[in-house]
Subunit: 212 residues, 4 copies
DNA sequence: TATGAATGAGAATTCATTCAT
DNA sequence: GATGAATGAATTCTCATTCAT
């Protein structure tokens, strides 16, 4: 399910033309399947409510492999967080001011409603793990600073604190939306498309993050 | 055994008539202590990560009383949710449009940062319990409709769907802020006062919920 | 099974009659039952091969109580070791030289063959737990020094090192006997009585620990 | 493919004539490496506390090879026990009475303190495996009978039972010493040399096993 | 009403072993 | 012959809940 079988088959037939669809033992693929499944469950159910068995079942692999590849449930969570951070940085880093609404909307609505929820939502699932909290906080900081500087502001301006606060409110809004979409079927928000979100998000960012 | 709690309470107040403040065995007091403690822990740690023992300890009462008064952990959560809903309705119901930012700011910052977090954050802690989810969804719906109608809009207008969506985004922002403040020490957002929040929230609501 | 119900009943009626010590659902008794069962299994099977379920079943109580009363399997082991150390100190502390063989024999054969094996055997079951290892080593040291000094020797004599070594060999012999009796049905050693052991042990101690 | 290991070895030594020490794929070498590593870990940690991965890592080979060569962890243990029994028989079989202390001392101290512990200690690590227990008991029996007969005694003498008991006590002492040396750093016993042990062991055997 | 004891279900994790390459 | 992937059975521990005072 998680693993796309068709793409896999294709790749496979390229590699071992005579023996298609027979790749059962692939460490990296297993790892990724676990990572995807974990992200889904962690964001929709929260860290504590998610069992490793849930994740393994959803990934279609044996539970013990979670410990093999990620040492522990916490390790898996940290890996999810790291991946989410990377993804966020890639999507939002260096986006010009006018593109921010689109970027946020894409981030929120990127992968459908509940199928593969936005990385944003993951940033609020606390695990009680210190290391994970640090990662989370780091990503949040980075993201809000990116937003703050997108308007062309510098960190040493007199009202930089205010700007940062407003950027964090934008971030909070984005996360709030992602959460309401992934955990609660609150209509119409839950079923909006990326397009639907751009206009209100533009109003929001324009109001909170006025360019120079 | 004793089925009627009120009758019992009456008897009790008779017994301790001389010292009405100091009642060691006071059902309603115990109930309230549990409710407060539960709200704190549920919002800061999430439903699943909170143990009934945590709550009981924080409330300073015996664990078994949770089951006595609320039948189960889920029952306690539902009770918290109900109380949060009531509180929200009281705070945000019928607020005139211009007062919305203040109302939201107060709601968010009402009780300090982490000491007694806003009810808003509770609205996203899912418990996996169907009844609780219904309550939650109900409260969220009500709140967003209140916001939508605050601008003087009616539910049967042609663009009512859009208005509702925008109201839900405002709500999402409010919840996002509450969450970032209660679960993560993201500065400066985490330490802002009610006053600090009003201006940006005004900008936000003005942009998203234009009055007629 | 382990806990003698009749003895318990008797004690109980005694206790509740005049003694202010009341035992309701009896935590201390449960604790002791666990301690006894644990000592049996740890000595006969070793730490790692013993499951907490084995112990709980043998004690006739629920598994979770092990964690309740001793925090962990390791905690229970440490408690056993501590109790064994106390018991050893009580039995062997300050025993005059001529009584040593009897003391050792009693210690070894004290409680039958396998029913409640000697504390001695426990002193060799390593758990991999650092704290437990320290306790164990402390008890072993104490016991060998007791033996060394029983012959009237002082720690500052020129050959004190030799004396201590010989005392440790006596101790090793005692432990070896206890082990061979508790873990392996090596006949005739496994079924000897306390009396049977005294004569050979006297020869052994006389040969290794010559009095001044 | 290659069935005959000796043929293989021959071929091998031909092939790697210039570097006879370094053979990567050598069944008997791998087998022996596993056997040595297993003996070390089993004696120092006990059967249950030793993982097959520990052993394989220490031997520098893949884990699966344990099952390949010894069918199971228990099989490996039995093999160790068998090897230890052979070794013991070789060392102690037919030793004249006066040489017994030396033989025991050598056995105990043979291979340093912890590096390659005495086979003696292995004789007490129970595995819960019936076959292994039988082997163990057989070895212990054989050894004690050897000791008993070393004094020139016959099995049909009137006090043969007593003699056997005393021989078992000597054996118990030897095992006790080996254990205290391999598992616990009890000084000075743990660091004594073979020479240091001979004198006390002579006193011990003389006292317990008087020759005819 | 309140409390500590007790319980059973379920959680994460470890580990010997087997499979496929 | 050797290796890394995968698996299922256990094991320890936690936790909500119930029981007995």
């Amino acid at each position: 399910m998680t693993v796309n079988p068709s793409a896999r088959a294709t790749k496979k037939s390229d590699a071992t033309a005579g023996d298609p669809q027979r790749r059962r033992r692939d460490a990296t693929r297993t790892r990724q399947a676990l990572l995807d499944a974990a992200r889904r469950r962690f964001t929709s159910d929260g860290y504590a409510a998610t069992t490793v068995r849930d994740i393994a079942d959803e990934a279609g692999v044996n539970v013990a492999l979670i410990n093999r590849y990620f040492a522990s449930k916490e390790g898996l969570f940290e890996a999810c967080l790291g991946a989410a951070g990377d993804e966020l940085r890639r999507t939002t880093g260096g986006v010009p001011f006018t593109q921010i609404p689109q970027a946020i909307a894409r981030q929120i609505a990127s992968s459908g409603t509940a199928d593969l929820p936005s990385e944003l939502a993951l940033l609020l699932s606390s695990s009680g793990d210190t290391r994970a909290d640090e990662i989370r906080l780091g990503v949040l900081h980075y993201a809000s600073e990116q937003l703050a500087s997108a308007g062309g502001r510098q960190a040493d301006e007199p009202d930089s604190e205010t700007i940062l606060l407003r950027a964090q409110i934008v971030l909070a809004a984005a996360i709030g939306i992602a959460l309401l979409r992934s955990s609660t079927p609150l209509q119409p928000l839950a079923s909006t498309t990326e397009q639907d979100l751009i206009a209100p998000l533009r109003d929001l960012t324009d109001a909170l993050l006025p360019p120079r």
